[in-house]
Amino acid sequence: MELFFNPFDNLLCILLGISFTVWFTLLLVFIIVPAIFGVSFGIRRLYMKTLLKIFEWATLRIERGAKEKNHHLYKPYSNAIIAREPTSLEEEIKEIRRSGSNKDLDSATEFEMSDIFYFARRGVESIMDDEVTKRFSAEELESWNLLTRSNYNFHYISLRLTVLWGLGLLIRYGFLLPLRVTLAFTGVGLLVFLTSLIGLLPNGRMKNFLSEKVHLMCYRICVRALTAIITYHDSENKPKNGGICVANHTSPIDVIILASDGCYAMVGQIHGGLMGVIQRSMVKACPHVWFERSEVKDRHLVAKRLSDHVQDKSKLPILIFPEGTCINNTSVMMFKKGSFDIGATVYPVAIKYDPRFGDAFWNSSKFGMVNYLLHMMSSWAIVCSVWYLPPMSREEGEDAVQFANRVKAAIARKGGLVDLLWDGGLKREKVKDTFKEEQQKLYSKMLVGTQEDRSRS
């Protein structure tokens, strides 16, 4: 019995050995070496084009299948379930009253029982579909990208499609995922190791040069670990030393995407665990701005450290995401004014993900970090565009909030995102009562205004 197994065992070992070697050589040649030098073979773009063709075919197939069965295809709306007219409070209430009475409008704009219709309708509309919470759910797709998580017409799929989907599943989880995880570990491991090494060098030009190279290399490996296909536009506007780089936030991956094309000083809270290890070793090689948890609450301390960093022209530009939270990449929410108060030049950057390949949005209230990363690594690819906008500075007579809004509008315009006034932080807290006041003020102006006229006449 043993004799029978031995040669088989040997053969198995040899085969495994060979495949591992081949595997790693391929990995090295096609992925890691280009990452080190910052060149690209164009494999990922070819991959992207092929995928797109397959997706189109799959969507057509579903539509055909649905037509054959004569069913109403459920289309995931990229817009709302309801259409809301952008009329104002005054217009609407006047209209309600106009239809309700023959009295002369000017003398009778006092409270009417029918006024409640307006508020009731608006209220129910927002229950069914409101601007803000829509921004926080994953964007819905028009075509199907072979991920069941983004499709609602699954039961219209033919055998051929199911096979294709199964194949896709196999490729994604059996081949792509292990590949990516390996790369991720390599990238992170190298980052920690090399930055710690560099930390041993004396401060000087050599250290900065090496640190730059190491950071770039490791981030590029991470980019490949996610199969991220990034197009950078307007690189002449890349942030320079002494400036603050400001971008819209969709996921923690934003950091990797930006940092693989330029060197930044990161800002953030020191975490424990693996994240903390990475943070601590990064700061050995070049100065990042990490805060202890207790320091984060102290606004002045934060502002001081940031402005100190910015004033030292030898230090790298700071990277900040002023929205404060992840938005689902269809809009830009209110920027927190802290970073705009410091007085440094601001370099805005717009990041827009292409949702057809994989949804990069991190809904932190629904998914944890590990879950999210797994999702990311088992998607087809992450395709995004990065636009570097020309630098902006605070103008005379402009306060931090206005400056922040100006930058926000520029980013939204460039990235094709909707510029919203809402504060992203509010998604988790209850809205302060001051917002209700706005509506109340509008309404009362309509009513009380006329009462004053009456008392005069």
């Binding site: 259409a83 239809s99 998914f367 209700k436």
Partner: protein, 194 residues
């Protein structure tokens, strides 16, 4: 990340609901997703807190009153059928609909919509809008912007205009009569996309 794929079979009693409310399958599905979305901890029902998470609703002066209308008196939760039944009030009314007397009044008819609006005022559901209830709604809509006297005079005027049997409260019929000229269907309907 996109919700998991769902179809009509995941919604219990979907056929009856469609009959009762008049929503199409596609709309019902969409509303179910919205329900699931609002139900953040996957409880299967909604509580007032889930509604309060809708930011726009918080800026609506009568936001709390609208939330209250979803919950039957004494109830702390609302399930999907009840959720949809309330929303059905805001469907545009069908034109030229003939119905026999045996069928219950559809939620989205003029009367159905009026009933919903009436209940926004009549919070204790006793069938009459009392002066106090009217004041409460006025207070919600205007809060700090007017004085208490102004609120009271507005309420007084409204009651005087509508209260026909002089019992110092507005019954449903009086409510209906005072609004008979308003194009209720237009003002209390939400435009659903195809």
């Amino acid at each position: 990340m996109g919700s998991s794929s769902s179809n009509l079979n995941t919604i219990p009693n979907s056929q009856e609901l469609m009959q009762e409310t008049g929503f199409s399958a596609a709309h019902l599905l969409r509303l179910y997703e919205r329900f699931e979305f609002l139900d953040k901890d996957n409880k299967g029902h909604l509580r007032p807190e889930d509604f309060e998470a809708v930011q726009e609703l918080s800026t609506n002066p009568i936001g709390d009153i609208i939330i209250g209308s979803f919950f039957s008196p004494g109830q702390e939760t609302v399930d999907f059928p009840s959720f949809v039944r309330i929303l059905a009030h805001f469907r545009p009314a069908e034109k030229n609909r003939t119905r026999d007397g045996a069928q219950p009044e559809p939620a989205n008819s003029s009367t159905g919509k009026l009933k919903f609006a009436f209940q926004l005022y009549d919070r204790d559901r006793d069938g009459k809008i009392s002066r106090e209830e009217l004041l409460q709604v006025l207070r919600a809509m205007l809060e700090m912007q007017v004085t208490e006297e102004q609120l009271e005079s507005m309420a007084e005027r409204a009651i005087q205009e509508a209260d026909l049997d002089e019992d110092d409260a507005i019954s449903f019929d009086e409510f209906k009569k005072s609004l008979e000229k308003v194009n209720i269907d237009h003002k209390m309907s939400i435009h659903f996309m195809k």
